[in-house]
Subunit: 624 residues, 2 copies
């Protein structure tokens, strides 16, 4: 068929009788109308939602691309696009974060052959081994724990006086040693040296099994934190921990989860978990307290104090972590009750300290928005309680980002009809955090709600109506859902979401103001956390949750906490830097800060009372 | 009645019709004929078996004392003498071994009052405490373990930010600290500071509960080692430990015994065992291995190697010792498989290093004779396997030194009739180690056996006869015993005893010869161990077990091992000295030494093939 030069591919397709879904109403915002240009040239007005790789592969948004010459266009099956988008999002090939040198980390394996004892030399086993290690490796001394000594005699004899010794040369809390023996194995076993990086999230736990010889991640296992059944957020966990045997129970639950993951990873690589000699652990302060079995009670009570920010390293057997019983567990340091090791670790892995000329805002969004601002010559951090709305709680049809969750929504600005994408491609059961952000933004842009978040019941559509919980908008009719009822968003839900996004934005503002800067001074914004990874920046800006910066200044880093633990495992210098970040970071307690409430109230609008802070939205709204 | 001046009190008594028992036949050897001189002067030819206090109180041996003027003499009831002798022997009022200064030991209790946290100062509990301790006590740093951190938050809050911190400033294996927090108690608790000194004997365990404020022993508890049911000597324990769960079982048994004793001592002083913050432990190498849960297998196998001589100190929870779970357990160092911490500790407590001008021979006699010779500018040690004969095993009617054991024997040189003393004053059930030494000596002196230990069956008494196990001597007729059969000593028993005493004497000889000296150069002989305490020196010399030295050169020191642990607990310097003794001590392995076998064979006579080495016996035998 023929169309004039300058015709939109979407129009051409329509004329050709090919149905291309355009959930956002052809505004180039959702990326779901992508097609593949096989031959000929086209002009892409916008490639939003497409990666450079996508473009190179020929993808083009049919609502934003015009014909310039004869062209062959393939319309892919919708579900194929879905899968491709999701897979590229979730690809987790972990690259070495820096050139790795084995000697930069403190674990060693050495083979020693000892002169066997005789009636002429009755030196005890331990002195015999120590003497040789000290001599051969020019050490001042070397230490062994009781459990190692218990194995020593049989290991030396079984290996006929040749043994492989696993040594930890030093640790962050004893940088000058002496080296500590973690294991003694009969005979020679130099083939590998294993460790794990662990991230204990409130919701999900991650384990990376690392081969310290190459420094590479050899297996990645993740699962929900077994504590979830005892409370969805940190506050409910803390309350649970304070009752009866709750603390021990929660500790055991997370240890069970981690041990299962470590076991799976070890099995995948065909090794025994006893061959894993170290664990570096990141997580928020409550998770670290529960993992170590330290009562977290004071974290939730005024004035919000942790028992310990820098837990001393300890052998795995002290908490029952399923690696070698003598393997060192090194919990990365946090700085406050709500700015934990996930943030210090995240700062390191975000790379913000490698680009010191830029003012960076780093945020990890979960139940709390934990954020830090600075250039690594200074850092200031705070946490704002966003509430669990973004985690799907406190919202009638909210749910976690699991199968059946609506994760993205588009509303046609003409007829107010929504289109949505569901995780797993099945019938929806509810809406997850990224879906809620997307929904709220679309409702605002399409005019379903006003800047105060009020639903406009006068619109000519039965999607808006007066419901049990006030005015509401129907995202999915009962017959489209897996729950047999309408999936809606109510005025109360919207209020919760507004408060959550306002809290986060107010946090950004207060951080900047506290050092005499404004958000427009921020050179880059780094977003960590699994949740952050799935946020649609554009929509998050539209609701005023993220500051209005050029898209290319946003970087989604995924699980920065886990990656930071991995880096600290690979390098003493990185481990030291986590501590330095912790020491350098100034914590701003927002509950003690009146300007936070002012900023919070100012942010309780879409996108904000001060539209000047959102120039792109101002433009969009004015052009409407 | 009247007797001439110069009449023996015993003869006078006989003339007066008063029956005084003289088990040794009036040779002044047994002390059982003691009477009290109430008025008038007597001349004591000998006061053997009497202490200066006894003499001051008027006691005199009636067989060795002659009348010089008018005299009033009281003959005490026999059992009263028994009790007095035994009580004076067993009196255990422990004196401070040296002027005690609290600061000489590393445990401290300090009270700190912290500024409570606030929204302005959200420092974590641990940093808050550490900051204050470091500042107030001018420390470089201070450490806490996970279990202490687990209690920290509630302790600080319960005490409203005033807490008592139990600190261990240093330890022998980290002399420069940093100080380690053992406990944090809410509020102010400065009234006391408790610790224990422990001796783990193969047979019996001892616990001294020590108040570190005064340095005094406040309670002493002792009991049989719960492991006895799993083997009487170290070799059988080692074998038991090597099978199945044997090691764990033996460890648990000794821990149970110790915990019971600690519990009893704590109860006696009205304290909780959690208030006991340190334990210093002495014992032979096998006992220390079993206590720490370290397999002792290699101790009994050629070339007789311990796994570890110097066990690093560890928190009590690692072995389940019933003091504060974080309290330090400090096992004193041994130097070889059969020269353990009981000896290094014994050397310290024997005081031999305080009298350096004298050449000292220190011995702890048990299943093994462990001995050391030197003047503390040098020390040489060995252990000779005496076998369990002195512990009552390997002898037909042998038994441990418990109620019903014959502990001393006298044989009338004229009619070969024995008299004996039984522990508990009841009918005899057997003969214990000290009883066997006494019996063998008396048989030899009375002529029942010759110098080769052969029973003279030609004697005109039915006490000697041919029995099932060869020639034998009847110590007690069936109707006098609690077992309904004759208690005898057989040729086989005598052979075992000869070998045991020969091994010990050969040990002495080899030690002296190895440094080019002879036993006559020895200036003092110190005898440690509970068993040593009950040996009759004279009789031990008569059988050639102890060298023939003037009685006043022998000193019975009781439980030197326990006392050494106590001293190491009270003073860093003493603790350090135990290590120095261990490092200075040269171990002589007798199984690799041919001269030992020569000396052993030479000692297989009564008292010895070379009678010149036993001048007092030579005199006695020639005067016979």
């Amino acid at each position: 068929m023929e169309v004039p030069v300058g015709t939109l591919l979407s129009d051409a397709a329509q004329q050709a009788g090919v149905d291309i879904l355009m959930p956002c109403g052809g505004q180039g915002r959702c990326g779901r109308c992508a097609v593949i240009v096989k031959e000929g040239a086209v002009h892409r007005r916008s490639t939003q939602r497409l990666s450079p790789d996508d473009v190179a592969a020929g993808y083009a948004l049919s609502c934003q691309t015009v014909v310039t010459e004869d062209t062959v266009v393939v319309v892919p099956l919708q579900e194929k696009i879905e899968r491709r988008l999701k897979e590229s999002k979730r690809a987790e090939k972990v690259e070495l974060p820096f050139p790795y040198a084995f000697d930069d980390q403190p674990l060693r394996k050495v083979v020693v052959t000892l002169e066997p004892p005789s009636l002429e030399d009755q030196t005890d086993d331990w002195s015999r081994l120590r003497r040789e290690l000290v001599r051969r490796y020019n050490l001042k001394d070397v230490q062994a724990s009781l459990p190692v000594l218990r194995r020593l005699g049989s290991a030396l004899r079984e290996g006929e006086w040749t043994a492989t010794v696993v040594l930890e040369m030093d640790a962050w809390d004893r940088p000058e040693g002496p080296p500590r023996i973690i294991d003694v194995l009969p005979g020679e076993h130099l083939e590998s040296l294993w460790a794990v990086a662990i991230d204990i999230g409130t919701t999900s736990n991650h384990v990376w099994l690392v081969d310290l010889v190459s420094g590479k991640v050899m297996s990645h296992k993740a699962d929900y934190n077994g504590q979830i059944a005892r409370g969805e957020d940190v506050i409910s966990r803390i309350i649970y921990a304070s009752k009866g045997n709750g603390l021990q129970e929660l500790q055991q639950l997370v240890i069970e989860t981690l041990n299962r993951l470590i076991g799976q990873a070890a099995k995948e690589r065909g090794i025994s978990t006893a061959e894993i000699y170290k664990a570096v652990v990141a997580g928020n302060s409550t998770m670290i307290h529960l993992f170590a079995g330290i009562p977290p009670e004071s974290i939730r009570l005024m004035p919000f104090i942790t028992v310990v920010n820098e837990v001393p390293s300890f052998p795995a057997r002290e908490v029952g972590l399923g690696i070698n019983t003598e393997g060192t567990v090194d919990c990365l340091p946090g700085i406050a009750s709500y700015v934990g090791a996930d943030i210090t670790s995240g700062v390191i892995s975000s790379g913000m300290c490698d680009e010191r000329e830029k003012l960076t805002l780093f945020v990890d969004i979960g139940t709390n928005g934990e954020m830090t601002l600075g250039d690594c010559s200074w850092l200031i951090a705070c946490a704002c309680s966003a509430g669990p709305a973004f985690e799907g709680a406190g919202v009638v049809h909210g749910m976690r980002a699991t199968e059946g969750a609506i994760e993205e929504v588009w509303i046609n600005s003409k007829n107010y009809e929504p289109t949505y994408r569901v995780i797993g491609g099945i019938k929806p059961r509810g809406i997850c955090g990224s879906g809620l952000i997307s929904l709220l933004a679309e409702m605002f842009v399409a005019g379903v709600v006003d800047k105060s978040g009020n639903v406009d019941l006068t619109l000519p559509t039965d999607r808006v109506r007066q419901g049990e919980h006030g005015a509401e908008y129907v995202v999915a009719w009962a017959d489209e859902t897996a729950i047999g009822e309408d999936i809606t968003i109510t005025a109360v839900d919207i209020d919760n979401l507004m408060r959550a996004k306002a809290a986060i934005y107010a946090g950004f503002s207060v951080l900047a103001r506290s050092v005499g800067l404004s958000l427009s001074d921020v050179g880059q914004m780094l977003i960590g956390g699994a949740f952050g990874q799935y946020i649609n920046v554009e929509k998050a800006i539209q609701i005023g949750m993220l500051p209005d910066m050029p898209f290319d200044q946003f970087h989604f880093l995924g699980n920065t906490s886990l990656r930071g633990a991995y880096m600290a495992l690979l390098s003493r210098e990185m481990r030291q830097r986590v501590n330095e970040v912790g020491q350098m970071m100034t914590y701003l307690e927002l509950s003690a800060d009146n300007t936070f409430f002012d900023e919070f109230n100012a942010a309780l609008f879409l996108p904000h009372t001060d539209l000047e802070q959102f120039p792109s939205m101002k433009e969009l709204l004015e052009g409407r």
